[in-house]
Symmetry: C2
Subunit: 280 residues, 2 copies
Protein backbone atom coordinates (compact mmCIF):
# COMPACT_ATOMS: atom_id res chain seq x y z
CA UNK A 1 0.00 0.00 0.00
CA UNK A 2 2.85 2.39 0.67
CA UNK A 3 4.11 2.82 -2.85
CA UNK A 4 0.77 3.63 -4.52
CA UNK A 5 0.01 6.15 -1.78
CA UNK A 6 3.37 7.77 -2.29
CA UNK A 7 2.78 8.05 -6.01
CA UNK A 8 -0.69 9.47 -5.48
CA UNK A 9 0.63 12.08 -3.11
CA UNK A 10 3.38 12.88 -5.52
CA UNK A 11 0.86 13.35 -8.33
CA UNK A 12 -1.22 15.66 -6.13
CA UNK A 13 1.83 17.67 -5.19
CA UNK A 14 2.81 17.91 -8.86
CA UNK A 15 -0.63 19.21 -9.74
CA UNK A 16 -0.51 21.62 -6.86
CA UNK A 17 2.92 23.06 -7.48
CA UNK A 18 3.00 23.20 -11.27
CA UNK A 19 0.93 24.95 -13.83
CA UNK A 20 1.18 23.80 -17.39
CA UNK A 21 0.85 27.06 -19.27
CA UNK A 22 -0.32 27.63 -22.82
CA UNK A 23 2.65 26.86 -25.00
CA UNK A 24 4.64 30.06 -24.91
CA UNK A 25 7.74 29.73 -27.03
CA UNK A 26 11.18 30.58 -25.72
CA UNK A 27 12.35 34.11 -26.34
CA UNK A 28 15.97 35.15 -26.77
CA UNK A 29 17.01 38.01 -24.51
CA UNK A 30 18.07 41.41 -25.89
CA UNK A 31 16.52 40.79 -29.28
CA UNK A 32 14.03 42.68 -31.40
CA UNK A 33 12.48 42.16 -34.80
CA UNK A 34 12.20 44.61 -37.70
CA UNK A 35 9.95 44.08 -40.72
CA UNK A 36 11.29 44.83 -44.20
CA UNK A 37 10.15 44.24 -47.77
CA UNK A 38 12.69 43.87 -50.54
CA UNK A 39 12.38 46.37 -53.38
CA UNK A 40 14.13 43.85 -55.58
CA UNK A 41 11.92 40.79 -55.27
CA UNK A 42 8.91 42.21 -53.35
CA UNK A 43 9.29 39.55 -50.65
CA UNK A 44 8.92 40.41 -46.96
CA UNK A 45 11.60 39.46 -44.44
CA UNK A 46 12.25 39.87 -40.75
CA UNK A 47 15.47 41.19 -39.29
CA UNK A 48 16.35 39.76 -35.89
CA UNK A 49 18.55 42.16 -34.01
CA UNK A 50 20.50 41.24 -30.88
CA UNK A 51 22.12 44.18 -29.13
CA UNK A 52 25.14 43.72 -26.88
CA UNK A 53 24.64 43.86 -23.12
CA UNK A 54 26.43 47.18 -22.84
CA UNK A 55 24.54 48.89 -25.70
CA UNK A 56 22.05 50.97 -23.72
CA UNK A 57 24.58 52.37 -21.31
CA UNK A 58 27.07 53.45 -23.98
CA UNK A 59 27.06 55.93 -26.83
CA UNK A 60 29.65 54.26 -29.02
CA UNK A 61 29.28 52.35 -32.28
CA UNK A 62 29.54 48.58 -32.48
CA UNK A 63 30.70 46.21 -35.21
CA UNK A 64 27.87 44.53 -37.11
CA UNK A 65 27.66 40.77 -37.62
CA UNK A 66 25.10 39.81 -40.27
CA UNK A 67 23.94 36.21 -40.49
CA UNK A 68 21.65 34.20 -42.75
CA UNK A 69 19.77 30.90 -42.36
CA UNK A 70 18.31 32.23 -39.14
CA UNK A 71 16.25 29.09 -38.43
CA UNK A 72 19.32 27.75 -36.65
CA UNK A 73 21.96 30.47 -36.76
CA UNK A 74 20.30 33.22 -34.72
CA UNK A 75 19.82 30.96 -31.70
CA UNK A 76 23.33 29.53 -31.86
CA UNK A 77 24.89 32.95 -32.39
CA UNK A 78 22.88 34.56 -29.58
CA UNK A 79 23.95 31.90 -27.09
CA UNK A 80 27.57 32.08 -28.13
CA UNK A 81 27.63 35.88 -27.97
CA UNK A 82 25.96 35.89 -24.55
CA UNK A 83 28.87 33.91 -23.13
CA UNK A 84 31.74 35.42 -25.11
CA UNK A 85 30.90 39.11 -25.47
CA UNK A 86 33.03 41.38 -23.35
CA UNK A 87 35.19 38.39 -22.41
CA UNK A 88 36.72 36.54 -25.35
CA UNK A 89 35.50 39.05 -27.92
CA UNK A 90 34.36 42.63 -28.03
CA UNK A 91 30.67 43.41 -28.12
CA UNK A 92 28.93 43.34 -31.51
CA UNK A 93 25.45 43.92 -32.91
CA UNK A 94 24.07 40.70 -34.36
CA UNK A 95 21.52 40.87 -37.17
CA UNK A 96 19.89 37.87 -38.81
CA UNK A 97 17.86 38.01 -42.03
CA UNK A 98 14.97 35.55 -41.96
CA UNK A 99 13.80 33.49 -44.88
CA UNK A 100 11.13 35.40 -46.80
CA UNK A 101 7.77 35.20 -45.09
CA UNK A 102 5.34 32.63 -46.33
CA UNK A 103 7.99 30.89 -48.40
CA UNK A 104 9.29 27.36 -47.84
CA UNK A 105 12.69 27.96 -46.19
CA UNK A 106 14.41 25.64 -48.66
CA UNK A 107 12.96 27.62 -51.57
CA UNK A 108 13.85 30.92 -49.90
CA UNK A 109 17.49 29.99 -49.41
CA UNK A 110 17.78 28.45 -52.88
CA UNK A 111 16.37 31.63 -54.44
CA UNK A 112 18.38 34.11 -52.37
CA UNK A 113 21.73 32.42 -51.72
CA UNK A 114 22.58 30.80 -55.08
CA UNK A 115 24.28 32.81 -57.80
CA UNK A 116 22.89 31.20 -60.96
CA UNK A 117 19.65 29.77 -62.27
CA UNK A 118 20.34 26.05 -62.48
CA UNK A 119 17.09 24.14 -63.02
CA UNK A 120 18.96 20.90 -63.69
CA UNK A 121 21.15 20.96 -60.57
CA UNK A 122 20.41 17.63 -58.84
CA UNK A 123 22.29 18.20 -55.56
CA UNK A 124 20.12 21.11 -54.43
CA UNK A 125 17.14 20.79 -52.09
CA UNK A 126 14.73 19.65 -54.83
CA UNK A 127 13.92 20.04 -58.50
CA UNK A 128 11.12 22.42 -57.55
CA UNK A 129 13.43 24.56 -55.41
CA UNK A 130 15.86 24.82 -58.32
CA UNK A 131 13.14 26.48 -60.41
CA UNK A 132 13.53 29.63 -58.29
CA UNK A 133 17.32 29.45 -57.98
CA UNK A 134 19.90 32.03 -58.90
CA UNK A 135 18.67 35.30 -57.41
CA UNK A 136 21.63 36.08 -55.14
CA UNK A 137 22.05 39.24 -57.19
CA UNK A 138 18.72 40.60 -55.90
CA UNK A 139 19.48 39.49 -52.36
CA UNK A 140 22.82 41.28 -52.30
CA UNK A 141 21.19 44.48 -53.61
CA UNK A 142 18.59 44.09 -50.86
CA UNK A 143 21.33 43.82 -48.22
CA UNK A 144 23.29 46.70 -49.70
CA UNK A 145 20.46 49.16 -50.35
CA UNK A 146 17.95 48.30 -47.66
CA UNK A 147 19.13 46.02 -44.85
CA UNK A 148 22.42 47.74 -44.02
CA UNK A 149 20.97 51.28 -44.29
CA UNK A 150 17.98 50.36 -42.12
CA UNK A 151 20.16 48.81 -39.44
CA UNK A 152 22.52 51.80 -39.54
CA UNK A 153 19.55 54.18 -39.20
CA UNK A 154 18.19 52.38 -36.14
CA UNK A 155 21.32 51.32 -34.28
CA UNK A 156 24.83 52.61 -33.61
CA UNK A 157 26.76 50.54 -36.14
CA UNK A 158 30.48 50.95 -36.78
CA UNK A 159 30.21 51.02 -40.58
CA UNK A 160 33.89 50.28 -40.96
CA UNK A 161 33.53 46.88 -39.31
CA UNK A 162 30.79 44.80 -40.80
CA UNK A 163 30.98 41.01 -40.96
CA UNK A 164 29.00 38.61 -43.13
CA UNK A 165 28.43 35.08 -41.80
CA UNK A 166 27.28 32.34 -44.15
CA UNK A 167 27.26 28.56 -43.98
CA UNK A 168 26.60 26.01 -46.74
CA UNK A 169 24.61 27.93 -49.40
CA UNK A 170 25.35 30.95 -47.21
CA UNK A 171 29.07 30.23 -47.66
CA UNK A 172 28.52 30.11 -51.41
CA UNK A 173 26.66 33.43 -51.19
CA UNK A 174 29.51 34.98 -49.22
CA UNK A 175 31.97 33.79 -51.85
CA UNK A 176 29.74 35.29 -54.53
CA UNK A 177 29.77 38.62 -52.67
CA UNK A 178 33.55 38.79 -52.34
CA UNK A 179 33.84 38.11 -56.10
CA UNK A 180 31.39 40.87 -57.04
CA UNK A 181 31.37 43.48 -54.30
CA UNK A 182 34.06 42.52 -51.78
CA UNK A 183 33.90 45.74 -49.80
CA UNK A 184 30.19 45.35 -49.05
CA UNK A 185 31.49 43.88 -45.79
CA UNK A 186 34.92 44.30 -44.29
CA UNK A 187 35.09 40.68 -43.18
CA UNK A 188 33.51 37.30 -43.84
CA UNK A 189 33.10 34.10 -41.85
CA UNK A 190 32.28 31.45 -44.43
CA UNK A 191 31.58 27.87 -43.49
CA UNK A 192 31.31 24.74 -45.63
CA UNK A 193 30.59 26.70 -48.84
CA UNK A 194 28.59 24.88 -51.53
CA UNK A 195 31.25 25.44 -54.19
CA UNK A 196 29.89 22.40 -56.09
CA UNK A 197 26.75 24.35 -57.03
CA UNK A 198 25.88 24.47 -60.75
CA UNK A 199 28.97 22.65 -61.98
CA UNK A 200 31.19 24.78 -59.77
CA UNK A 201 30.14 28.00 -61.45
CA UNK A 202 31.76 29.98 -58.63
CA UNK A 203 35.18 28.95 -59.96
CA UNK A 204 34.33 30.68 -63.28
CA UNK A 205 33.22 33.75 -61.35
CA UNK A 206 36.57 33.81 -59.60
CA UNK A 207 38.35 33.50 -62.96
CA UNK A 208 36.37 36.45 -64.30
CA UNK A 209 37.11 38.48 -61.16
CA UNK A 210 40.81 37.74 -61.54
CA UNK A 211 40.75 38.92 -65.15
CA UNK A 212 39.65 42.44 -64.18
CA UNK A 213 40.97 42.85 -60.62
CA UNK A 214 44.32 42.68 -58.93
CA UNK A 215 42.99 43.47 -55.45
CA UNK A 216 40.34 41.80 -53.30
CA UNK A 217 39.81 44.11 -50.34
CA UNK A 218 38.35 41.80 -47.68
CA UNK A 219 39.21 39.66 -44.69
CA UNK A 220 37.87 36.15 -45.15
CA UNK A 221 37.94 33.11 -42.84
CA UNK A 222 36.84 29.87 -44.44
CA UNK A 223 36.02 26.82 -42.33
CA UNK A 224 34.86 23.34 -43.20
CA UNK A 225 34.24 20.08 -41.34
CA UNK A 226 36.84 17.35 -41.67
CA UNK A 227 34.12 14.85 -42.57
CA UNK A 228 32.75 16.82 -45.51
CA UNK A 229 34.51 14.74 -48.15
CA UNK A 230 34.40 16.27 -51.63
CA UNK A 231 33.47 19.66 -50.24
CA UNK A 232 36.82 19.75 -48.42
CA UNK A 233 38.59 18.95 -51.69
CA UNK A 234 36.62 21.71 -53.47
CA UNK A 235 37.54 24.27 -50.84
CA UNK A 236 41.21 23.28 -50.92
CA UNK A 237 41.22 23.62 -54.71
CA UNK A 238 39.53 27.01 -54.47
CA UNK A 239 41.98 28.30 -51.86
CA UNK A 240 44.84 26.95 -53.99
CA UNK A 241 43.63 29.16 -56.85
CA UNK A 242 43.37 32.17 -54.52
CA UNK A 243 46.96 31.48 -53.42
CA UNK A 244 48.14 31.79 -57.01
CA UNK A 245 46.26 35.06 -57.66
CA UNK A 246 48.11 37.00 -54.98
CA UNK A 247 45.23 39.49 -54.70
CA UNK A 248 46.20 42.72 -53.00
CA UNK A 249 44.47 43.67 -49.73
CA UNK A 250 43.12 40.17 -49.39
CA UNK A 251 43.51 38.67 -45.92
CA UNK A 252 42.24 35.10 -46.06
CA UNK A 253 42.69 31.75 -44.35
CA UNK A 254 40.95 28.44 -44.41
CA UNK A 255 40.76 25.75 -41.78
CA UNK A 256 39.51 22.19 -41.71
CA UNK A 257 37.92 21.50 -38.31
CA UNK A 258 38.57 17.82 -37.59
CA UNK A 259 35.90 15.25 -36.70
CA UNK A 260 33.01 17.51 -37.68
CA UNK A 261 30.32 17.17 -40.32
CA UNK A 262 28.55 19.75 -42.48
CA UNK A 263 26.17 20.27 -39.55
CA UNK A 264 28.20 19.77 -36.39
CA UNK A 265 30.84 22.22 -37.64
CA UNK A 266 28.64 25.31 -37.49
CA UNK A 267 28.80 26.24 -33.78
CA UNK A 268 32.55 25.57 -33.82
CA UNK A 269 33.31 27.73 -36.84
CA UNK A 270 31.11 30.55 -35.59
CA UNK A 271 32.92 30.53 -32.23
CA UNK A 272 36.33 30.42 -33.87
CA UNK A 273 35.50 32.95 -36.58
CA UNK A 274 34.24 35.49 -34.04
CA UNK A 275 37.35 35.05 -31.91
CA UNK A 276 39.51 35.46 -35.05
CA UNK A 277 37.83 38.72 -36.07
CA UNK A 278 36.81 40.25 -32.77
CA UNK A 279 39.05 38.53 -30.23
CA UNK A 280 40.29 40.66 -27.36
Amino acid sequence: MYKPLFFTLNAILLTFFTQVSASEQFVIQNTQTLQITSEFNKQSYELYVRLPKGYKKSTRNYPLVLINDTSYSIATASGILHLMEGRDIEEVILVGISYSKGTNPLFSRTRDYTPTFAPKETQGHSKAAQQVSGQANNYVKFIDNQVLPLIASQFRVDKTRKTFVGHSYGGLLGTYIILHQPSLFESYILGSPSLWYDNKVIFEMEQRYAKYNSALPATVRYYIGGKEGKMVTDLKTFVGILDKRQYKNFDYQYKVIPNTSHFSVFALLLTEGLVELYGK
Copy 2:
Protein backbone atom coordinates in the same frame (compact mmCIF):
# COMPACT_ATOMS: atom_id res chain seq x y z
CA MET B 1 23.25 67.57 -56.76
CA TYR B 2 23.10 63.94 -57.84
CA LYS B 3 24.34 62.36 -54.68
CA PRO B 4 22.03 64.15 -52.21
CA LEU B 5 19.05 63.43 -54.45
CA PHE B 6 20.00 59.78 -54.54
CA PHE B 7 20.23 59.66 -50.77
CA THR B 8 16.90 61.41 -50.38
CA LEU B 9 15.21 58.96 -52.70
CA ASN B 10 16.84 56.14 -50.86
CA ALA B 11 15.52 57.46 -47.56
CA ILE B 12 12.00 57.75 -48.99
CA LEU B 13 12.19 54.22 -50.36
CA LEU B 14 13.41 52.96 -47.00
CA THR B 15 10.47 54.58 -45.24
CA PHE B 16 8.10 53.17 -47.81
CA PHE B 17 9.33 49.61 -47.82
CA THR B 18 10.16 49.05 -44.17
CA GLN B 19 8.15 49.13 -41.01
CA VAL B 20 9.96 49.33 -37.75
CA SER B 21 7.78 47.25 -35.48
CA ALA B 22 7.41 47.35 -31.74
CA SER B 23 10.35 45.40 -30.35
CA GLU B 24 9.21 41.82 -30.59
CA GLN B 25 11.87 39.51 -29.29
CA PHE B 26 13.12 36.55 -31.26
CA VAL B 27 11.37 33.27 -30.53
CA ILE B 28 12.99 29.83 -30.85
CA GLN B 29 10.98 27.40 -32.97
CA ASN B 30 9.44 24.21 -31.52
CA THR B 31 9.72 25.44 -27.94
CA GLN B 32 7.25 25.81 -25.13
CA THR B 33 7.40 26.94 -21.53
CA LEU B 34 6.10 25.24 -18.41
CA GLN B 35 5.77 26.92 -15.02
CA ILE B 36 6.86 25.08 -11.90
CA THR B 37 7.39 25.93 -8.23
CA SER B 38 9.90 24.00 -6.16
CA GLU B 39 8.50 22.29 -3.09
CA PHE B 40 11.97 22.43 -1.63
CA ASN B 41 12.79 26.12 -1.75
CA LYS B 42 9.39 27.62 -2.75
CA GLN B 43 10.97 29.37 -5.74
CA SER B 44 9.27 29.47 -9.14
CA TYR B 45 11.09 28.39 -12.29
CA GLU B 46 10.34 28.03 -15.97
CA LEU B 47 11.06 24.91 -17.97
CA TYR B 48 11.88 25.56 -21.62
CA VAL B 49 11.08 22.52 -23.69
CA ARG B 50 12.26 22.02 -27.25
CA LEU B 51 10.70 19.06 -29.02
CA PRO B 52 12.43 17.36 -31.94
CA LYS B 53 11.13 18.02 -35.46
CA GLY B 54 9.73 14.50 -35.78
CA TYR B 55 7.94 14.49 -32.41
CA LYS B 56 4.37 15.17 -33.52
CA LYS B 57 4.37 12.62 -36.29
CA SER B 58 5.77 9.79 -34.16
CA THR B 59 4.56 7.84 -31.15
CA ARG B 60 7.94 6.79 -29.80
CA ASN B 61 9.87 8.00 -26.77
CA TYR B 62 12.89 10.29 -27.02
CA PRO B 63 15.99 10.71 -24.89
CA LEU B 64 15.91 13.72 -22.58
CA VAL B 65 18.67 16.32 -22.43
CA LEU B 66 18.37 18.59 -19.38
CA ILE B 67 20.37 21.81 -19.27
CA ASN B 68 20.92 24.58 -16.78
CA ASP B 69 22.11 28.20 -17.06
CA THR B 70 19.47 28.75 -19.71
CA SER B 71 20.32 32.42 -20.24
CA TYR B 72 22.83 31.23 -22.83
CA SER B 73 22.52 27.47 -23.03
CA ILE B 74 18.98 27.08 -24.33
CA ALA B 75 19.65 29.26 -27.37
CA THR B 76 22.96 27.57 -28.18
CA ALA B 77 21.54 24.10 -27.67
CA SER B 78 18.44 24.81 -29.76
CA GLY B 79 20.49 26.05 -32.71
CA ILE B 80 22.91 23.13 -32.49
CA LEU B 81 20.07 20.59 -32.27
CA HIS B 82 18.22 22.16 -35.19
CA LEU B 83 21.21 21.48 -37.43
CA MET B 84 22.35 18.15 -36.03
CA GLU B 85 19.16 16.29 -35.09
CA GLY B 86 18.34 13.43 -37.41
CA ARG B 87 21.71 13.89 -39.12
CA ASP B 88 24.71 13.68 -36.80
CA ILE B 89 22.67 12.66 -33.78
CA GLU B 90 19.32 11.12 -33.06
CA GLU B 91 16.43 13.34 -32.04
CA VAL B 92 16.17 14.32 -28.37
CA ILE B 93 13.87 16.35 -26.15
CA LEU B 94 15.71 19.37 -24.77
CA VAL B 95 14.63 20.86 -21.45
CA GLY B 96 16.19 23.89 -19.81
CA ILE B 97 15.57 24.95 -16.22
CA SER B 98 15.55 28.74 -15.87
CA TYR B 99 17.00 30.65 -12.99
CA SER B 100 14.34 31.16 -10.33
CA LYS B 101 11.98 33.96 -11.24
CA GLY B 102 12.64 37.35 -9.73
CA THR B 103 16.08 36.32 -8.52
CA ASN B 104 19.38 37.76 -9.73
CA PRO B 105 20.70 34.99 -12.04
CA LEU B 106 24.07 35.00 -10.27
CA PHE B 107 22.35 34.46 -6.92
CA SER B 108 20.09 31.79 -8.40
CA ARG B 109 22.97 29.75 -9.81
CA THR B 110 25.07 30.19 -6.68
CA ARG B 111 22.19 28.99 -4.53
CA ASP B 112 21.14 26.07 -6.73
CA TYR B 113 24.36 24.77 -8.29
CA THR B 114 26.86 24.86 -5.41
CA PRO B 115 27.06 21.96 -2.95
CA THR B 116 28.11 23.73 0.24
CA PHE B 117 27.42 26.95 2.12
CA ALA B 118 30.66 28.88 1.76
CA PRO B 119 30.16 32.50 2.85
CA LYS B 120 33.89 33.17 2.73
CA GLU B 121 34.51 31.84 -0.77
CA THR B 122 36.11 34.78 -2.64
CA GLN B 123 36.13 33.36 -6.17
CA GLY B 124 32.34 33.16 -6.48
CA HIS B 125 30.17 35.84 -8.09
CA SER B 126 30.12 38.07 -5.01
CA LYS B 127 30.18 38.04 -1.24
CA ALA B 128 26.41 38.64 -1.26
CA ALA B 129 25.79 35.72 -3.64
CA GLN B 130 27.81 33.45 -1.35
CA GLN B 131 25.34 34.15 1.47
CA VAL B 132 22.76 31.99 -0.35
CA SER B 133 25.21 29.35 -1.53
CA GLY B 134 25.12 25.61 -0.98
CA GLN B 135 21.59 24.53 -1.79
CA ALA B 136 22.38 22.05 -4.58
CA ASN B 137 20.76 19.43 -2.38
CA ASN B 138 17.36 21.13 -2.72
CA TYR B 139 17.85 21.69 -6.43
CA VAL B 140 18.61 18.02 -7.06
CA LYS B 141 15.53 16.98 -5.10
CA PHE B 142 13.53 19.46 -7.19
CA ILE B 143 14.86 17.87 -10.41
CA ASP B 144 14.29 14.36 -9.14
CA ASN B 145 10.84 14.76 -7.58
CA GLN B 146 9.28 17.47 -9.69
CA VAL B 147 11.07 18.41 -12.93
CA LEU B 148 11.67 14.92 -14.30
CA PRO B 149 8.19 13.61 -13.35
CA LEU B 150 6.49 16.68 -14.85
CA ILE B 151 8.40 16.36 -18.13
CA ALA B 152 7.69 12.63 -18.25
CA SER B 153 3.98 13.29 -17.65
CA GLN B 154 3.75 15.82 -20.47
CA PHE B 155 6.08 14.38 -23.10
CA ARG B 156 7.18 11.00 -24.43
CA VAL B 157 10.50 10.66 -22.63
CA ASP B 158 12.70 7.57 -22.82
CA LYS B 159 13.34 7.32 -19.09
CA THR B 160 16.32 5.04 -19.65
CA ARG B 161 18.23 7.73 -21.51
CA LYS B 162 18.39 10.99 -19.65
CA THR B 163 21.35 13.36 -19.94
CA PHE B 164 22.39 16.19 -17.64
CA VAL B 165 24.34 19.08 -19.15
CA GLY B 166 26.18 21.51 -16.90
CA HIS B 167 28.92 24.05 -17.45
CA SER B 168 31.04 25.93 -14.88
CA TYR B 169 28.98 25.85 -11.65
CA GLY B 170 26.70 23.52 -13.64
CA GLY B 171 29.67 21.20 -14.14
CA LEU B 172 30.27 21.30 -10.38
CA LEU B 173 26.60 20.50 -9.83
CA GLY B 174 26.80 17.56 -12.23
CA THR B 175 29.82 16.24 -10.36
CA TYR B 176 27.92 16.63 -7.10
CA ILE B 177 25.05 14.60 -8.58
CA ILE B 178 27.24 11.71 -9.73
CA LEU B 179 28.78 11.56 -6.23
CA HIS B 180 25.40 11.44 -4.46
CA GLN B 181 22.82 10.03 -6.85
CA PRO B 182 24.66 8.93 -10.00
CA SER B 183 21.72 7.13 -11.56
CA LEU B 184 19.48 10.21 -11.46
CA PHE B 185 20.65 10.56 -15.07
CA GLU B 186 22.16 7.87 -17.28
CA SER B 187 24.70 10.29 -18.77
CA TYR B 188 26.36 13.63 -18.11
CA ILE B 189 28.04 16.27 -20.28
CA LEU B 190 30.06 18.35 -17.85
CA GLY B 191 32.05 21.35 -19.00
CA SER B 192 34.68 23.39 -17.18
CA PRO B 193 33.52 22.30 -13.71
CA SER B 194 34.23 24.69 -10.83
CA LEU B 195 36.11 22.08 -8.81
CA TRP B 196 37.92 24.90 -6.98
CA TYR B 197 34.72 25.82 -5.14
CA ASP B 198 34.93 26.01 -1.32
CA ASN B 199 38.52 24.80 -1.03
CA LYS B 200 37.84 21.97 -3.48
CA VAL B 201 35.17 20.44 -1.26
CA ILE B 202 34.06 18.22 -4.16
CA PHE B 203 37.31 16.22 -3.74
CA GLU B 204 36.25 15.37 -0.18
CA MET B 205 32.83 14.35 -1.46
CA GLU B 206 34.48 12.01 -3.93
CA GLN B 207 36.59 10.54 -1.13
CA ARG B 208 33.48 9.91 0.94
CA TYR B 209 31.72 8.34 -2.04
CA ALA B 210 34.69 6.03 -2.62
CA LYS B 211 34.60 4.94 1.01
CA TYR B 212 31.09 3.54 0.70
CA ASN B 213 30.79 2.65 -3.00
CA SER B 214 32.64 0.46 -5.42
CA ALA B 215 30.42 1.28 -8.40
CA LEU B 216 29.50 4.58 -10.05
CA PRO B 217 26.77 3.75 -12.55
CA ALA B 218 26.94 6.66 -15.02
CA THR B 219 28.39 7.75 -18.35
CA VAL B 220 30.27 11.03 -17.97
CA ARG B 221 32.02 13.21 -20.52
CA TYR B 222 34.11 16.01 -19.05
CA TYR B 223 35.37 18.87 -21.23
CA ILE B 224 37.43 21.95 -20.49
CA GLY B 225 39.01 24.76 -22.48
CA GLY B 226 42.76 24.60 -23.03
CA LYS B 227 43.11 28.18 -21.80
CA GLU B 228 41.45 27.60 -18.43
CA GLY B 229 44.70 27.37 -16.50
CA LYS B 230 44.30 26.08 -12.95
CA MET B 231 40.88 24.67 -13.73
CA VAL B 232 42.52 22.32 -16.24
CA THR B 233 44.96 21.20 -13.56
CA ASP B 234 42.09 20.63 -11.11
CA LEU B 235 40.16 18.53 -13.61
CA LYS B 236 43.23 16.46 -14.47
CA THR B 237 43.84 15.83 -10.76
CA PHE B 238 40.21 14.85 -10.26
CA VAL B 239 40.21 12.46 -13.21
CA GLY B 240 43.50 11.01 -11.94
CA ILE B 241 41.76 10.14 -8.67
CA LEU B 242 38.83 8.58 -10.56
CA ASP B 243 41.33 6.50 -12.52
CA LYS B 244 42.70 5.04 -9.29
CA ARG B 245 39.24 4.19 -7.90
CA GLN B 246 38.35 1.80 -10.72
CA TYR B 247 34.62 2.34 -10.05
CA LYS B 248 32.45 -0.34 -11.61
CA ASN B 249 29.90 0.65 -14.27
CA PHE B 250 31.56 4.02 -14.65
CA ASP B 251 32.12 5.09 -18.25
CA TYR B 252 34.01 8.38 -18.19
CA GLN B 253 36.38 10.44 -20.29
CA TYR B 254 37.75 13.93 -20.19
CA LYS B 255 39.02 16.12 -22.96
CA VAL B 256 40.85 19.43 -23.10
CA ILE B 257 39.59 21.40 -26.10
CA PRO B 258 42.57 23.42 -27.33
CA ASN B 259 42.59 27.21 -27.84
CA THR B 260 39.32 27.76 -26.01
CA SER B 261 38.48 29.69 -22.86
CA HIS B 262 35.95 29.07 -20.11
CA PHE B 263 33.39 30.82 -22.33
CA SER B 264 34.31 29.96 -25.92
CA VAL B 265 34.46 26.26 -25.06
CA PHE B 266 30.73 25.85 -24.38
CA ALA B 267 29.31 25.50 -27.92
CA LEU B 268 32.17 23.15 -28.80
CA LEU B 269 31.74 20.85 -25.83
CA LEU B 270 27.97 20.75 -26.25
CA THR B 271 28.36 19.77 -29.92
CA GLU B 272 30.96 17.14 -29.12
CA GLY B 273 29.18 15.80 -26.05
CA LEU B 274 25.92 15.32 -27.94
CA VAL B 275 27.73 13.52 -30.77
CA GLU B 276 29.50 11.32 -28.19
CA LEU B 277 26.26 10.31 -26.47
CA TYR B 278 23.72 10.39 -29.27
CA GLY B 279 25.81 10.12 -32.44
CA LYS B 280 24.35 8.06 -35.25
